[in-house]
């Protein structure tokens, strides 16, 4: 009510412009600098089917079209997905510490990927065996966790979090075991995958993740009113006319889908789903109708920036992006914790 919608549209507009600008800057930067106008021209040329006279080298075109753009788009989508899934899970569990990782989903993805790398599992998926196995691992995990936590047809939040942590520990042990039996090369691959990277992003990756991630984001945003009501407790939500169990299930599935798909192309990137919703809550607002879209856009900006840093700080080699997000995210998280220490129950 009041003038809030206008303010929200303004905020989202600013974030969208920021996201586009960040993407453009990220495509500019690298061993070969490319002028932003040139980027726009190359894309105009590509998209219009050659209406503009090309005045650039093939190398420049390849760098923009085949190397940097898919990488930027992929990191943007993953950042959006991880952030909105984190925001939704924190809302669902009414716990600021909840995020896809705590529910064991990323460990599930890691087991799937490690099985693929070390034992060659999932050969039927061909080149996609690692992401496909990661996806299967993450989705299986969330359903196992969900069903362990289920009692009398309901899923109490405390049980769900505990089940997630317990299953996560178990899966972690499985990954450790796979590392021990891995050969030298496959061990290196596993370790690199676990740290996460966009170094080898292709348009095929983008095509694979874009639909599920956008679908998941859409579903989560669609449920923003239910998430708001759930903040008052499940019983109140029931009294207001919400089919709480159904809504919870849909929220879980959508978050699992988004996270699993994100993790399956980028490896494990921590802190994004935790930090971004926190910052958005502090700066922009609590209501999920603004929190969810603002988290998605901010998460996109954040991960594109992190990936740009990952590319340039130790040029010509790369830093795994998981290290960058942890280096930025962990101190910020500690800062948040200390600031909120007096009132841990601030939720």
């Amino acid at each position: 009510m009041g003038n809030k919608p206008k303010r929200y549209l303004l905020v989202l507009g600013i974030l969208l412009v920021g996201l586009i600008a960040t993407c453009l800057i990220s495509i500019m930067i690298g061993p070969v600098f490319i002028h932003p106008l040139l980027i726009i021209k190359i894309w105009a040329y590509k998209l219009s089917g050659g209406l503009i006279q090309p005045i650039w080298s093939n190398i420049q075109e390849t760098i923009v079209v085949d190397i940097r753009t898919p990488r930027v788009i992929l990191s943007m989508l993953v950042g959006m997905g991880l952030s909105i899934a984190g925001a939704a899970m924190q809302g669902l569990f009414r716990n600021p510490m909840a995020e896809p990782y705590i529910l064991g989903m990323s460990s599930g993805a890691a087991v799937g990927a490690a099985l693929a790398i070390v034992l060659g599992a999932g050969n039927v998926f061909g080149e996609l065996s690692i992401p496909a196995m990661a996806f299967i691992g993450a989705t299986t995990t969330i359903f196992v966790v969900y069903n362990i936590a289920r009692t009398d047809g309901r899923v109490p939040t405390e049980t769900l979090l505990l089940a997630g942590i317990a299953v996560g520990f178990f899966l972690h042990a499985v990954v450790s075991f796979l590392k021990i039996i891995a050969s030298h090369e496959t061990l290196r691959d596993v370790v690199l995958w676990l740290m996460g990277s966009f170094a080898l992003s292709t348009w095929a990756d983008v095509r694979m993740v874009i639909l599920p991630i956008l679908l998941g984001i859409g579903v989560l945003y669609f449920l923003c009113r239910e998430l708001n009501a759930l903040q008052f407790g499940e019983e109140t939500a029931l009294h207001l006319g919400i089919e709480v169990e159904t809504v919870k299930r849909i929220l879980l599935i959508a978050s699992a889908l988004v996270t699993a798909v994100a993790v399956s192309v980028s490896g494990i990137i921590g802190f994004v789903g935790l930090i971004i919703p926190h910052v958005v809550r502090l700066i922009i607002g609590h209501g999920h109708h603004i929190l969810l879209p603002a988290s998605a856009l901010s998460g996109g900006i954040f991960l594109v920036l992190c990936d740009t840093l990952a590319r340039i700080v130790t040029q010509p080699s790369e830093v795994p992006i998981g290290i960058i997000t942890a280096a930025i995210g962990a101190p910020y998280f500690v800062y948040l914790l200390r600031r909120r220490k007096k009132a841990i129950s601030w939720w």
Binding site: M1, E235, L238, G241, E243, H286, W347
Partner: protein, 255 residues
């Protein structure tokens, strides 16, 4: 009209309610009393469909509650729980607007009708003065009024309240029960309230149900239920019940 038919309930095989049957007419204010652990909250949870009974049925306007979806129930019935958890930063207006959930057809649009209902609910509960304040920063009494406003925004036919006055001062106790009484008498709402304070129950309710030993120990108009004998049996205390001219109602004095 709400009918409770032969309800039994248990927690982990331990029976809490047995063969509870009663009926509440439109425009009636029913009080549910009984000692701690008698099963009042459990009964309320069954009446709101939050807990399913072991046997029996709750009927809303002649329809089985178990056959209605949450939205249909919420359009008929609103609940003021005993203590609601209030997350930070939701303003009074936000919270009251949530009561419109079951009526809203579009998820992203607030209609004129919604705004009208919200304004009216805030007016009735005296909460429009602090509409922009975060609810978690209000006092217990003010919060309770906001939660009642949210329930009114649902435009329910039946209002269920679980110890709505438990943490309120005498002024707010009178104000909130007076408000419920007005809603019942002027707007034809049916109210069902769990309450410990027998004197307040005697003053505001039309009829009482006394729960004891998993059963309805007594039910009827105030003077039929609030007798020294019933109270001694259910609460194990000696009482004197007499008509008080000053308040114009029965009054229970505990020895």
């Amino acid at each position: 009209m709400l009918q409770v038919k032969n309800i039994s309930a248990s927690y982990q095989q331990r029976p809490v309610l047995e063969g509870i049957s009663f009926q509440v007419e439109d425009g009636e204010f029913l009080g549910i009393i009984g000692p701690n652990g008698a099963g009042k909250t459990t009964l309320l949870k069954i009446m709101t469909g939050v807990k399913s009974p072991l046997t029996g049925e709750v009927m809303l306007d002649g329809k089985k509650m178990s056959s209605l979806c949450r939205k249909e129930i919420a359009m008929i019935m609103a609940v003021v729980p005993q203590s609601s958890f209030i997350p930070p930063l939701f303003t009074v207006e936000d919270v009251v607007l949530m009561g419109r959930y079951p009526h809203q057809k579009s998820r992203f649009v607030t209609t004129e009708e919604d705004i009208k209902a919200v304004e009216e609910a805030m007016q009735k509960t005296n909460t429009s003065n602090f509409r922009q304040r975060p609810v978690n920063e209000l006092s217990g009494g003010e919060r309770q009024e906001v939660i009642i406003a949210r329930a009114l925004a649902q435009e329910p036919k039946i209002l269920l309240l679980d110890e709505p006055t438990a943490s309120l001062d005498i002024k707010h106790q009178m104000r909130i029960l007076g408000l419920v009484r007005t809603l019942v008498k002027e707007n034809g709402i049916t109210a069902i309230m769990v309450i410990h304070d027998l004197n307040l129950a005697a003053r505001f309710c039309d009829r009482l149900i006394l729960l004891h030993n998993q059963k309805i120990y007594a039910q009827g108009v105030i003077k039929e239920v609030l007798t020294s004998q019933n109270l001694k049996e259910a609460y194990e205390v000696e009482t004197m019940v007499e008509y008080n001219d000053f308040i114009g109602a029965l009054q229970v004095v505990v020895k």
